[in-house]
Symmetry: D2
Subunit: 266 residues, 4 copies
């Protein structure tokens, strides 16, 4: 892993601008929203709440890669339109998952940052296409990807000329079953020590348990993360998916507060 | 996992025809060839050797999903042309990996069966596109996919109408480092007990060690596998990739012999 | 891992005698019995059945290492006495788990072979004590032990002078949840290629699913195993523990038949 | 996992006193020292340095459970005597690993707290013996133990009447190879949410990389840990074992400083 564009030795730390939000460079960025975009009214209410808490960007799934083909697959483009409407209303850039190179062009009409999901981290055709654009990319770690594979996935994008890559640790697959995944903060610390990419943590998917989101958010920031992605909803128990790990708007604000305090003293 | 098209209870066991080769239905199918297509002369020599041993189909990588963007990425379409030439010369259907929905149409001019590699098992856009065709698909297990996720990946294809799906166990990621992967024969036995899909084993990638290919091939057939994929080369140590797990043509014949004997007595 | 007593290069393959039963040296040995010794009558009935099938040795847990301190911990010495009575009645050597160096002396009054369970593979004090005796030892692999660690555990015994060590692969811990463990036949093949220790497989614990015991037994023998340990009961559904993976006496006979056929042709 | 003595619902949070050091109850406890006790002079120098930094307890291995029987196995009782001498000189309680029930009595002449190492977490005979005493126990997590198994291991001690149990997360075994283990802070947060046991983190073994010890210590405290165990040496590169993860005395002080600041604001 020598001489990669991602290496600290290859240049200054990478700072990614998503409209007027800056990720990296000492900033602490918060992205929040529901697992899946459900409808305009609900997302508007969520957006209003998150904006009031000072959240920087809004997220929500429109193209949902689901294990079963019989499960809800998301609203697709319709979902992206809703996201864009809410993002514009509350002046928050939006990020959403795109599953394939073929969806990039259409998606870019609506989103400000493209998320490469855990299942697509090894989709090198997709990564190369993203590398040819200047769109900010949120690159989630594959659920069993080594740090080295994850960095190389980023390198696929950087190598093509797009330096706007933000890493996101979202939990790895281990033998443990009491948490949905095992949020791996070692990887976060490794990136901050050895690479120049910004990195966020996603303790919602990373643990799959609501009560762990707060301590693991703070721990993530302490390990060096440049921000946190929080799955939230106005009525978490009514989420169409991932209810068990979703927190309410007020909890988002409390977590942000604690994270900022910790960041300020470190 | 109830009421899937893949379930044994949903119908007869699935038999997949690739030109005049039949996979499943009590047949024992052998597929062999180099990790990567290197050039016409080498592949012709390999093809000649494999045909003489009675191998049914030839394989070789043209689009190579490599961890590092700086590694050899395969010959691409040029590689598929070479495969087709050798397949036609020795009357063996060819299978090769395609990495993305966008490559399917072009690839189908040259290959008889499309391999979905381990890194793309969760690429649902790709799987859905393959479901809309009638092309035989070799669906490798994701390197950390649960059996349930793997079956659901097949279901993405079946659901769209393409019943020509062959599973391939190629080793899972565990804590063990002495083998490249851990070939999981439990999953093979589970499929034969509970699902109606044919399943092959790939002990070359599955173990990453040449000396284990023979015992694990025989063990795979004993666990119920419908065939074996063997990475082979006329001069294994000269393979451009994966030399450590590649065997020579004579070894392919010996392994086939043993597998057939075991199958005949079970 | 050079220059170990366990290495093939250090001498002839090790053959272990347990009374008149020989493990290794080309023999195919079958050990069977219930997960836990329950009472004399039940074990006598099991022993009678197993003897009639040609099983070589009887097993049964008396000291049960249970995850919860509130679960049934086994009958202890009373259980060993029952085992000995049944073993003598049907002329089958008995093997049972001992959990600690302090139990060895007492246990040796009743058992012919001491099992080191998965949880105790790293208990080096225990291993060293076993090394000072000439008792046959059945060394189960730790649930997440690398092959290297497992071989070194055997070496702890060999180094002290006791060469009567039989390895037993019993499934490793992976991300997969549909099977209780993942029986790792790669490790079996590795041992037969590189080490001179006999090795058995335990597909009952290794898979935790009754329907997988037969295919994985045959696969284990095909991978090179010197024998199989089968959890059995006269009425499997009434087992006090591990009922889900326990088979009946008739099934034991059928599996033995298939394993012997495969062994005879390889 | 209902109605355990370890459950929060079973009573007040457990506070463990080791001489005049208190673990739990809102305290932040630091334990440090070398991987292995080497000789009196070196440990005296380390002890002097650690005391000056405000470290509460000193640690050092005397009985070393090593993977290979041919590796250095520690100084044994001689090592414990050195530990005791240093602990008395600098008024720091000492903790050291004991490998087996048979060593407890002798060890208690020298140590103030007994460490159950990762390899012995499932050694239930040992745990039960510790439960019959009132000695403080540092219970390291098994390298692949689920949280549930680890809690039950503690319960083995609690159930016998010894409530002086301190948990220690020391990294789990995953597919990742760039770190020695994966320090699992999710488990720390889970314990603080659901159980009444104090829990420490060991980022030295947990990551195996010197540069990660500081960020993961702070992250551990942020996740709720009651203290940190730091492997240290006056000349880390000269450690007889684990040099790669050992830090110097000054670094211990810096990490303590940062941890205390974070704790004070949370």
């Amino acid at each position: 892993m020598k001489n990669l564009l991602a290496d600290k030795s290859s240049g200054e730390d990478i700072i990614v601008k998503v409209k007027d939000v800056t990720i990296g460079g000492g900033n602490l960025t918060f992205i929040s929203g529901p697992c899946a975009v459900e409808n305009l009214d609900t997302l508007m209410a969520i957006g209003e709440g998150l904006k009031a808490q000072g959240v920087h960007m809004i997220r929500g799934g429109a193209f949902k890669p689901r294990t079963s083909p019989y499960d809800f697959q998301g609203l697709g483009i319709e979902g992206l339109k809703i996201l864009k409407a809410v993002g514009e209303k509350y002046n928050m850039p939006v990020v959403s998952e795109v599953m394939d190179a073929s969806q990039i062009e259409e998606a870019l009409k609506y989103v400000d940052m493209i998320q490469v999901g855990s299942r697509n981290m090894y989709n090198y055709t997709f990564l190369k296409e993203l590398g040819k654009l200047q769109v900010p990319v949120l690159l989630k770690r594959g659920m069993s990807a080594t740090l080295s594979e994850w960095i190389y996935a980023a390198e696929y994008i950087l190598k093509e000329g797009n330096m706007n890559v933000v890493m996101c640790e979202r939990g790895i697959r281990t033998f443990e079953t009491i948490t949905r995944n095992t949020l791996d903060l070692n990887a976060v610390a490794m990136i901050k020590e050895h690479y120049r990419l910004p990195v966020l943590v996603d303790p919602s998917h990373g643990t799959g348990r609501r009560e762990l989101v707060k301590p693991m958010s703070i721990a993530g920031v302490s390990a060096g993360a440049d921000g946190v992605i929080l799955e939230s909803h106005i009525t978490p128990d009514n989420s169409v998916s991932d209810a068990r790990q979703t927190i309410n708007i007020k909890a988002v604000g409390e977590i942000m507060e604690q994270c900022k305090i910790v960041r300020s003293v470190l």
